[in-house]
């Protein structure tokens, strides 16, 4: 996950005001959240490899429509695949079935390979759709959309504060790391290193809680009484209806594929 913490790019995108170009960005955020959840549940329910490949193709189409940089996004998704690769690589050996080949006395089965490919396709299709539909949103907009979708207010506020402070605390983390570096700290596998990292984490927490006290003081002085009013409103347009229609059509096509090839 180092790429997230590189010093140049922000941890979370945007400041809550910008609105990107492209057909996906023009859609109602609520529609984007709901359709990505529906899409996730639907794709997870699919079993057939052809249908899942078609779903992945659909996700790639969404990616193309979203105007995200395709190279970087795919690289990020591929990196996540790296984490699950070892699990998928084991599956052919643990699922019984017709053997493909034998490795150190363990037979690999076609059925296991199919299961591994199935999981890989599902995971990538869902995550890609999630990143393109919801991940392209401003984090703050996501909070407002969830609120309009009747997510409990407390949870939305918690989300909003987290979004707001991730970048602030990341800057603080980088400052603390810089301070350690100028004092000659070099991470290694040693007691001293782990103690320093532990103190770093502890210091982050102490500073976080103290920051939150100042924050609450500032909010109270502006009349905060325990409730934040979320004013952003959304409107569905014909584009949203069209998108929902196309997506339903795509679901129907995927379902037909699944049922025909069963």
């Amino acid at each position: 996950m180092t790429h997230i913490l590189s010093n140049t790019t922000a941890a979370l995108p945007g400041d809550g005001t910008r609105r990107g170009p492209g057909p996906i960005a023009a859609l109602d955020p609520r529609v984007r959240v709901v359709s990505s959840v529906a899409y996730g549940i639907f794709v997870v329910a699919l079993d057939n490899l052809v249908a899942l490949t078609a779903a992945l193709a659909l996700s790639l189409t969404l990616l193309a429509l979203s105007r995200l940089p395709p190279g970087r996004t795919l690289k990020r998704v591929a990196m996540v695949d790296g984490f699950i690769l070892f699990m998928l690589a084991l599956l052919p050996f643990t699922v019984p079935g017709d053997p493909i080949f034998t490795l150190w006395g363990y037979p690999a089965s076609w059925q296991g390979l199919a299961r591994a490919v199935q999981i890989g396709l599902t995971a990538n299709a869902v995550v890609l759709a999630l990143i393109t539909l919801v991940g392209t949103m401003e984090p703050v907009t996501l909070g407002h959309a969830l609120y309009r979708l009747r997510t409990p207010e407390t949870l939305v506020h918690l989300l909003m504060f987290t979004i707001r402070y991730v970048e602030v605390l990341r800057q603080e983390y980088l400052r603390l790391r810089a301070a350690m570096k100028v004092r000659g700290f070099r991470p290694s596998t040693s007691w001293h290193s782990y103690r320093s990292f532990g103190y770093l984490v502890g210091m982050m927490m102490v500073r976080a809680i103290e920051r939150s006290e100042r924050l609450l003081g500032a909010m109270k002085c502006r009349g905060f009484s325990g409730r934040i009013v979320l004013l952003q409103d959304f409107r569905t347009t014909r584009a949203d209806a069209l998108f929902a229609l196309v997506l339903t059509g795509a679901f129907a096509a995927l379902l037909t594929l699944e049922l025909m090839l069963r």
Binding site: M1, I4, L5, A11, P13, G40, I41, V43, V44, R76, V80, F83, I84, F86, M87, L90, T94, G112, Q118, L121, T122, V126, V127, I131, V134, G135, P139, T154, L155, H157, L158, L159, M160, F161, T162, I163, R164, Y165, R170, Y173, T189, Y194, R195, F197, G198, Y199, V201, G202, M203, M205, V206, R207, A208, I209, S212, L216, M219, K220, F224, G226
Partner: protein, 205 residues
Amino acid sequence: MHIVDGALSNPVVIGGAVAAVGGIALGLRALPLDRIPAAGVLSASFFVTSLIHVPVGPSSVHLILNGLAGLILGWAAFPALFVGLVLQAVFFGFGGLTVLGVNTVNIALAAVIVGLVFRPLILRGGPVWAGIWGGIGGACATALTTLFVALSLMFSGDEFLAVAHLVFVAHLPIMVIEGLLTGFAVLLARKVKPDLFLSMKEVEA
């Protein structure tokens, strides 16, 4: 530690989602409105610290620190860690969508259990004892999370048995490191700001 979409069986996914909703509801109830800023800032700091890479021999691991989250936030760790997982899934593609519930329970339930068991111990003795208990708590949280991950895989099918074993063994060194770091973090926090570990409710804001 994240499980992806498509791997788990439907009962596990649905069970996880239901349990996560319950846990989040309990956590939100434990969170009075004027403690939300504190919980949010702490949630953000857990998000940031979980991106720290700690060297282990030639490789490096990133931290979970759910034990520390449980010690500081108590039940509120449930919604706080859930928020972190949502942001990770949506903006970085880590984990998945339908498995959000299971992932939340695996990480947050371990945090809450450690918080309930070890927070009284941390508040009782001196800072050094607090650090030792915190270290044990941190290691326990990782162990519990790994156990929960292994269980969710095992309940989903026998084919994951080997993977579940491997997940557990692979996380043994991470448990040690989580324990060490949590221990030192608790030691420092107990010296500098002891009321960090008071329940979110008890602290006078």
